[in-house]
């Protein structure tokens, strides 16, 4: 539990730091450019953020924090839903600005501000007077304080107003606000920031020319959400620092939700958090999923039951079967021996992860630049492929190797250099040799280059010879010879070397990129229950309803309900029968017919034990059951009462569900 909270925290920290990093450059620009404020024009920044609306909140929070720290204490965040009218907007604005003010100034004038806050008429003049008083105060007050603050803030810090979701503001409010504030721009240095989800054209569509000419707009493009995602993946999944890992299918589900549904990094993180929770909740051995330092302690505190759990893991069983018999017995009976072994295995796993990540990056360097990207452009695709099965057995891998054998030299050299860098950075100890080998390749390439230059000299000289002979016939002949010789000399040294390099990479891949399911004890750190995840994040309520209505046997395991194909037994729950019957109707349903049909079905299902007196009774009950089922369908939204004809209901769904 502890670890998992740590993880979550770290995760968010990562994101926030990332956000602030992306926006720091905006700040610099903003500061420069607010200096050249023009006459009656409000400097405006339009931030194009993309469609992942849910992430914007975080972005803006980061942005306003940074702004507050670096440029101005006066930042107001406005959202469309708070501001249905210009009055509310001003209120909100004032409130936020005054609150900022309290934060910056000492508490002495808090009470006066608070008193005034309620009474103040929210208007531009009052805002201006407030602003003047505040700036004056900071000027006159304690010069010592001013010194350190002026290093951060300017003499007259601008008031920054951020409109979080520009598209959903009503145009009138925006126009009014802009026109009003443009008249006061001299007294009040105002900076607007628009958050835009679609395209910058929207500003001109929302605001008429007369208004937009009052703005001095500069456009900023935020990073695309895919890039956010890849940074997060880089930081979370492809490090050996986090002991917790995701299985291939889970990753696939998360990526699919991201790519096909919302593009929201926040949701991705939510999914990841859910995975963590699920894993720690469902896997009893997840205690062992911790940093390497703690492992030893935890392994030795395992109880007997937990040891048994370990023994039950399929991957551990496979491992045991491979050992010789004496060791097998020891592993299965002796707890302390098991613990030692477990610790060793966990360490192995850790080392495997370290190696895995760096080799994966190397491979990515190679494959990401190949034409058509047989193994995917992004490292996440490669990662998925490697996790899923043995990557070297796939066709894509074959073809990418083929393509890699056709790389030209400069590319190859730069790639090798990148690989060397990656491997140097990685903490794995086994890579010394690999690095050496790669370096050797590099030097060989350099040698080749030297040779090649000599060769070129030769060829140049031969060309000179050619130039001497102006005879056309001879020229042709020599050219043919040259061509032939080139063809016959199948493998140049360079090509040989290239083959060697590719083969070597292949060898590395085969050695280190073994899918995690093949490792012993992978269950401890890998989360693989993708269906659970999918059920919780990407649920399909309609499908569930449909199944329940069409095929009640799925849920109620009663033999009487079992039926095949599209049919339904007449013993099904009332609502299922009513639903089935209503599917047969068009847009309007006559209740009487429906009731009759229903009672026919139900009567047939029940035993014909009827004597006349009880028949009436039964009839009433059936009627009541019908009423209940129909009103349930109404609650579920399948039908609604209709006024078109007496005693009819209208069907609300079209087709199957």
């Amino acid at each position: 539990q502890q670890i998992q909270e740590d993880l979550n925290k770290q995760l968010l920290d990562n994101l926030v730091s990332f956000m602030s990093r992306t926006y720091s450059d905006f700040q610099e620009k903003t500061t420069e450019w607010t200096c050249r404020m023009k006459f009656r024009e409000i400097p405006t920044a339009a931030l194009v953020l993309g469609v992942n609306v849910t992430d914007h909140d975080l972005t803006f929070r980061g942005l306003s924090d940074v702004l507050q720290d670096n440029i101005t204490p006066y930042v107001a965040l406005l959202e469309a839903k708070d501001c249905p009218g210009i009055k509310n907007l001003m209120q909100k604005l004032m409130g936020q600005l005054m609150n900022c003010d309290i934060d910056v100034d000492s508490l002495e004038d808090e009470d006066c501000v608070q008193v005034s806050q309620n009474k103040i008429r929210c208007s531009m003049p009052s805002l201006i007077s407030w602003y003047e008083s505040v700036t004056k105060k900071t000027d006159s007050e304690t010069p010592s304080k001013k010194r350190n603050s002026s290093s951060k803030h300017w003499q007259s810090p601008p008031v920054v107003v951020i409109f979080k979701d520009m598209e959903s503001f009503s145009t009138k409010v925006l126009q009014d606000f802009i026109v009003i504030s443009s008249q006061h721009i001299h007294e009040l240095p105002l900076v607007l920031i628009f958050g835009i989800a679609t395209s910058p054209m929207i500003i001109h569509r929302l605001l008429p020319h007369s208004v937009s000419s009052l703005l001095c707009i500069e456009l900023f493009q935020s990073l695309s959400c895919k890039e956010h995602l890849s940074t997060i993946i880089d930081k979370l999944l492809l490090t050996s620092q986090f002991p917790f890992k995701l299985g291939a299918k889970v990753l696939q589900v998360l990526f699919n939700i991201f790519l096909y549904h919302d593009f929201s990094v926040q949701n991705f993180i939510k999914g990841f958090q859910l995975c963590v929770v699920e894993h720690f909740y469902s896997q009893p051995l997840s205690v062992l999923c911790c940093h390497l330092g703690d492992t030893k302690k935890r392994v030795y505190s395992l109880s007997h039951d937990q040891c048994e759990n370990i023994r039950r893991l399929p991957s551990f069983r496979r491992y045991v079967e491979k050992q010789e018999s004496g060791k097998q017995v020891a592993l299965l009976t002796n707890d302390s021996f098991l613990k030692e072994e477990t610790e060793k295995l966990l360490e192995d796993l850790h080392v495997y992860h370290e190696n895995y990540v760096s080799i994966l990056r190397c491979l990515h360097v190679f494959t990401s630049s190949l034409p058509k990207y047989p193994l995917g452009k992004q490292i996440r695709e490669l990662h998925c492929a490697c996790l899923e099965n043995q990557v070297w057995e796939t066709e894509e891998y074959e073809s990418s190797l083929q393509l890699a054998r056709m790389l030209n030299k400069t590319d190859l050299v730069t790639m090798l250099q990148q690989c060397v860098e990656i491997l140097m950075l990685s903490s794995g100890k086994e890579f010394d040799k690999t690095v050496e080998k790669l370096k050797e390749f590099l030097t060989q390439f350099q040698n080749l280059e030297a040779e090649a230059s000599q060769e070129r000299d030769v060829s140049v000289s031969s060309q000179k010879e050619l130039q001497k002979k102006t005879d056309l016939y001879h020229l042709q002949k020599t050219l043919l010879e040259l061509k032939e010789s080139r063809r016959s000399k199948k493998l140049t040294k360079f090509e040989m070397l290239r083959f060697d390099v590719v083969d070597y990479i292949d060898k590395l891949v085969r050695k280190y990129l073994v899918p995690a399911d093949h490792r012993t004890l992978h269950e401890i750190v890998y989360f693989n229950a993708a269906s659970v995840l999918r059920g919780h994040l990407n649920a399909a309520p309609r499908t569930a309803l449909h199944t329940a209505l069409n095929n009640p046997h799925w849920y109620l395991k009663n033999q009487a309900l079992k039926c095949d194909g599209g049919g339904i037994s007449n013993k099904a729950p009332d609502i299922c029968i009513v639903y089935k019957l209503h599917l047969e109707c068009g847009r309007l349903i006559n209740l009487v017919d429906w009731l009759e049909a229903f009672s026919t079905v139900v009567m047939a299902a029940e035993e014909p034990n009827a004597d006349a007196a009880s028949l009436d009774q039964v009839d009433d009950i059936i009627h009541a059951r019908f009423i209940r089922a129909v009103s349930e369908l109404e609650l579920l939204g399948f039908i609604k009462p209709s006024k078109q004809k007496t005693d009819h209901v209208a069907r609300l769904t079209w087709g199957g569900c």
Partner: protein, 576 residues
């Protein structure tokens, strides 16, 4: 486009009034694909062009289909979850559109269902082909279809004289793409023919097939453009069928009304009693199901504490489940239960109960937004405050509005408010956009309980239940008897007028001016003002409703259904 159509239909001597473009294209493609046409050489050029175009498109479309499939496969990558997750069937099965049925189909199906034997082993053969078409994806039924048409085709076309109305024919044309897609191998399975032949005689009389369809079935399609055609055809049909079903103002349903059924209407209480006496089917299985869900309680608790909120979906009332959750785990903590199905619940009342009962704040707020802000502040200040909110039916009429959902979402995003809610409506997820979803931070749980919605539906104004809230006959007479004779006369006038117009569904009511005129003629009132005073009295007793139309004219309406009104008038006549 019209030219090939004309030639084709003349050749086959068909009586089709309208054929969608796709159909035409397809038929042309058929002919070009099977054999070179000996006649109409000049036509074949244009035909080929069509085909070429078609195939170009078809490649793209096939690609698309493939991608879609990939996507579906990727999402359903681990769909084989053995235990109780019903949401794993593929989308096509669920969302496949179906052909609308004739008005008497329901009765047919009912009798079939009634006839189905206990074990229900071989229902396919006892059902008529239309029934099979309902599951177009299953190959068995498609085979049957094909064989059926094949036979028809062989038996010369004379048997099916096209007496079917056009609408019906069009409807029947629905499932034929599936049929084509199966045609290749279904031709070989001849053992079904025997069975089908027996049925033939009976079915041929009951439902006539369009010749166009048999023709489509008999000409095999070129393989490569199959996928696209199936899709295109399907789309075309869907769109047409949809508009066909919805454009025609006339709906064919029987005219029977509940009134004619000698059954008395049940009121709420008797209904309740009756249902109580009726045994609940499959109680044991339902209990098992619920026990499964109950085992998740501690997990829910953990996840709520980690900042997720939980939403429950699935058929059946989830009220009992939530109640059980509440009594077993939330006894010692502060919690708020919101009965969303209650017709007068509002966001405001939810917020009020939070501020007044949880936060002990006395005082009112100007707007829900202010209130929300206050709550947010309080919860942020005091981190020890924790509140569990249970909402039954988050998707109910009163709470499904945009603004209420926004407020609830913001409320639920507070870290120390834990929300667990249930939804029932099929379109409930549509009320949340991305922003709200991220505020809610839902975890979805499927909890199909099959419990009857007892509480939830008790507030619904079902057509079949006698309304206790609205006017009943007795209350109508009671109120009127306390009025003056003139007033009764006025009401009678209005009622009679309304009954005369009862066949007009868009009857707005009697306009005030006309009513005044009539009342004057009957010597019931002498001035505008007296009538108005009288009407005010009616309105206070909820006997009438006034509505102002767009042109400012006031319309008067008695909000009672016609049958009650008739009864009332009859009774009045007896009295007088």
């Amino acid at each position: 486009m019209s030219r090939p159509e004309g030639t084709r239909s003349s050749r086959r001597s068909l009586h089709v009034k309208f054929v969608p473009d796709e159909d035409v294209l397809k038929h042309i493609a058929d002919d070009a694909g099977t054999k070179a046409r000996k006649d109409k050489a000049q036509l074949s050029v244009s035909v080929k062009r069509f085909v070429k175009k078609l195939e170009n498109i078809s490649d793209n479309e096939a690609q698309e289909v493939l991608e879609e499939k990939n996507y579906v496969a990727a999402l359903g990558i681990c769909a084989q979850d053995p235990v109780g997750n019903g949401s794993n069937i593929s989308g096509g099965e669920v969302f496949s559109f179906q052909t609308p049925k004739r008005s008497n189909k329901m009765a047919e199906l009912a009798s079939e269902l009634a006839q189905t034997p206990e074990q229900n082993v071989a229902p396919d053969h006892s059902k008529c082909p239309e029934k099979m078409a309902k599951t177009p994806q299953s190959s068995v039924s498609s085979n049957a279809w094909f064989v059926f048409f094949f036979l028809l085709f062989q038996n010369k076309k004379k048997e099916f004289v096209s007496t079917t109305p056009y609408r019906l024919r069009k409807r029947l044309a629905g499932p034929d793409p599936y049929l084509e897609s199966e045609s290749e191998y279904s031709a070989s399975c001849s053992e079904e023919e025997d069975e089908e032949e027996q049925k033939e005689a009976s079915t041929i009389l009951s439902d006539q097939k369009t010749p166009a369809k048999t023709k489509a079935a008999s000409t095999p399609l070129p393989r490569n453009s199959l996928a696209k055609k199936v899709k295109e055809q399907k789309m075309g049909n869907l769109v047409e069928e949809y508009f066909e079903a919805h454009s025609s103002s006339k709906v064919l349903t029987s005219d029977r009304t509940l009134q004619k059924l000698r059954k008395r209407r049940l009121n709420q209480q008797t209904l309740h009693d009756l249902l109580k006496n009726a045994p609940l089917a499959y109680a044991a299985e339902i209990r098992d199901l619920n026990q499964q869900h109950e085992s998740l309680f501690s997990k829910w608790m953990l996840q709520l504490h980690l900042g997720f909120n939980i939403v429950l979906y699935g058929l059946g009332s989830k009220r009992d489940l939530l109640e059980k959750f509440r009594t077993s785990l939330l006894q010692d903590s502060v919690h708020l239960v919101v009965n969303g199905y209650f017709p007068s619940i509002t966001v405001r009342s939810i917020l009020n109960s939070i501020t007044e009962e949880v936060l002990d704040h006395i005082g009112t707020f100007r707007s829900p937004l202010d209130q929300l802000e206050f709550i947010t502040k309080r919860f942020k200040e005091d981190s020890s405050l924790e509140l569990y909110v249970l909402i039954h039916n988050l998707d109910s009429q009163m709470l499904r509005g945009e603004r209420s959902q926004q407020i609830l979402a913001q409320l639920s995003s507070l870290p120390s408010i834990y929300l667990i809610a249930s939804i029932d409506h099929i379109n409930a997820p549509l009320m949340w956009d991305q922003a709200k979803l991220s505020l809610y931070n839902w975890l979805w749980y499927e909890t199909t309980t099959f419990n009857p919605y007892v509480e939830e539906t008790s507030y619904e104004n079902s057509l079949l239940v006698q309304q206790s809230g609205s006017l009943a006959l007795s209350s109508l007479t009671h109120v009127l008897h306390s009025l003056t004779l003139n007033a009764r006369g006025i009401f009678r006038l209005l009622a009679q007028h309304q009954l005369e117009k009862k066949d007009n569904p868009s009857y707005p009511g009697l306009s005030f001016q006309d009513f005044y005129q009539q009342c004057r003629e009957a010597f019931l009132v002498n001035s505008d003002l007296t009538l108005r005073a009288q009407l005010t009295e009616f309105r206070d007793h909820k006997l009438i409703r006034t509505k102002r139309a767009a042109d400012g004219v006031e319309y008067l309406l008695i909000p009672v259904d016609d049958s009650t009104l008739t009864d009332f008038l009859e009774k009045e006549d007896e009295d007088v």
